[in-house]
């Protein structure tokens, strides 16, 4: 209950600061809309179904992208963590893929994969991949050597070692990677949409900004993305608390 109260209080403070900023600087609503203008626009956008229509698309891209990206990342990260050889072979490609700006890659990926939901899920998965894979690799390697020796003394198979020792010990670090990954997934979905989608919150931002000159609506889309990111992050933290033990 206290956590909810603090969150609400901080949210209220943020809204007040925002309002003060617009009043003090005298910025017009078409550049920085005041919070009540955005709220009113949000109510209209929700009522007309416009907001949900685009949110549903982006949410599906994010969730599928996360699923694909995180699953691949944990598998690859585990392989990287357990085998120095694999790490040496794969690292250059993984780092290269991470270093090329996704904003530049996205249009290419969009064309290669047929420009539909699949392409956007893959772009999203690509953005999410790196931090989770690296976190998994580090986590796997951080398994306590004393426990590794214990497992050896009990005759555990390599599969048992991975499943019952290395992955559980890696979970706290993996969840750290997932927290980052979840917020990146939101960015990834928007970038993917900008590469060529016809609906979604990223598209709505463009429509509002360039097509409708409706800055409050653009802010509504931005706020919705923020809410999605916060919600997903909170979900990861909750799952993390249930699955890991904090000593």
């Amino acid at each position: 209950m206290r956590r909810v109260a603090t969150t609400l209080a901080s949210l209220a403070a943020f809204v007040v600061a925002w309002k003060l900023l617009t009043v003090v600087t005298g910025t017009p609503n078409y550049i920085l809309p005041a919070p009540e203008v955005v709220a009113e626009r949000a109510v209209r956008a929700i009522g007309s179904g416009l907001l949900w229509e685009h949110t549903a698309v982006t949410l599906s891209e994010i969730l599928l992208g996360l699923a694909v990206g995180a699953a691949t990342a944990i598998a690859v990260g585990t392989a990287l963590g357990k085998s120095v050889v694999i790490e040496r072979v794969l690292s250059p490609y993984i780092v290269a893929a991470q270093s090329v700006p996704i904003l530049a890659l996205a249009p290419l990926l969009d064309i290669w994969f047929g420009g539909g939901l699949l392409a956007r899920v893959l772009i999203c998965a690509l953005i999410v991949f790196f931090p989770i894979a690296i976190a998994t690799m580090v986590g796997i390697r951080s398994a306590d050597p004393l426990l590794l020796e214990l497992f050896r003394s009990l005759g555990a198979t390599p599969a048992q070692r991975t499943a019952r020792l290395e992955i559980p010990s890696a979970l706290p670090v993996i969840f750290g990677g997932l927290r980052v990954g979840v917020t990146l997934a939101v960015i990834g979905a928007v970038v993917a949409e900008w590469a060529g989608a016809s609906s979604g919150l990223g598209v709505l931002i463009n429509i509002a900004n360039q097509g409708l000159f409706d800055t409050p609506l653009m802010f509504v889309a931005l706020a919705t993305l923020a809410v999605i990111g916060i919600g997903l992050h909170g979900l990861v933290v909750t799952v993390e608390r249930r699955l890991t033990v904090h000593p």
Binding site: I31, G196, N206, G211, F213
Partner: protein, 331 residues
């Protein structure tokens, strides 16, 4: 907030003091102003380059520096006073003014609406109702290309749902036409047809003038500037029109001015000159010289079309969107 906001009034006051006691001459400090043009340097902006280089703006006490911005930002920056002048699509002026952004359209640059429907020679219908069921490529569902396309469809009794739209966010819809992914594309009359011809495809155009007239792009200023410094605005408009007229009579002049401003144009002079000549036709709209005056008939018709299409709701009347600073030649 840009510090220029505070600086400009001070400079303006200083200059006002200076100019009262002396005629405007190069030795008097000019008021620095910013002109925002769309996206990137282009030979089509030759009148502005020429006017600045030849001192036409200076004659009215203005030192114009040019920056390039996307349409959406451009409109907001001019409205907010962070830039003094801009060139924008008339249809975007209608939408943004209705959305509460305080700008006004003060001078016509393009007498003809530059966007048209383009298709391979012999395939383009003159009746837009025949577009039903066709595949049409366009950059995206915003901007003057989109407005023109919907206006044409609307005139033929069609909507977006009656055709297949394919979006080309990288503005490469000519590729779609060349490889047959689409039947028609939207494009700029002084650009895409030339590119297609260079690739070996002769084309026909379906333009809006006879079907659903829309006003072409022009100069915009913010309400505040118009109120406080109307003389600067009329000066800018006059200087621009003078340069435009000169180039219409002698395109080479415009090309040279563009090369000075944008050295990369030098590498493709022939192409640039061809584009410039096609552009001049759009400025002149069939008259002997570009007039710069606002085309009230096109504006009225366009306002009605945009309203019918649902882009504007009519809450802001047409006369709040434009300011007649240039006398039209037949009034």
């Amino acid at each position: 907030m840009s510090p220029r906001r505070l600086l400009l009034p001070l400079i303006a006051a200083f200059l006002a003091g200076c100019t009262i006691f002396g005629s405007p001459s190069p030795s008097v400090a000019l008021r620095p102003v910013t002109l925002l043009l769309g996206f990137q340097p282009d030979v089509q902006f030759a009148p502005f380059y020429l006017a600045q280089q030849k001192g036409y703006y200076a004659r009215f006490g203005l030192d114009v520096s040019i920056e390039y911005k996307g349409d959406a930002d451009l409109v907001r920056l001019v409205a907010d006073g962070q830039a003094e002048f801009g060139v924008a699509d008339a249809t975007d002026v209608m939408i943004s003014r209705t959305a509460g952004i305080p700008i006004k359209y003060v001078e016509t640059i393009y007498g003809l609406f530059p966007v048209a429907l383009i298709g391979p020679k012999g395939t383009v219908p003159s009746d837009p109702s025949e577009l039903a069921g066709k595949r049409i490529g366009t950059p995206g569902k915003f901007g003057s290309s989109w407005h023109a396309l919907l206006a044409l469809l609307h005139a033929g009794g069609l909507t977006e749902a009656d055709v297949t739209i394919r979006e080309y966010p990288q503005f490469n819809q000519v590729d779609g036409l060349l490889n047959g992914d689409v039947d028609f594309i939207t494009g700029f009359r002084n650009n895409e047809p030339l590119r297609l011809a260079a690739q070996g495809m002769e084309v026909d155009l379906l333009t809006v003038e006879e079907i659903a007239p829309l006003p072409g792009p022009g100069v915009i200023v913010g309400d505040a500037l118009l109120k406080s410094n109307k003389a600067d605005v009329t000066g800018f408009v006059a200087a621009t029109l003078q340069a435009e007229t000169e180039i219409a009579a002698d395109p080479q002049k415009g090309l040279e001015a563009a090369v000075v401003a944008v050295p990369t144009i030098d590498a493709a002079r022939d192409v640039a000159l061809a584009v410039l000549k096609a552009t001049i036709e759009l400025w002149r709209a069939g008259a002997s010289a570009p007039s710069g005056a606002i085309n009230d008939a096109a504006w009225a018709s366009g306002y009605g079309t945009m309203r019918a299409l649902g882009f504007i709701d009519g809450s802001v009347p047409l006369d709040e969107m434009i300011e007649h600073l240039v006398k039209s030649s037949d009034s």
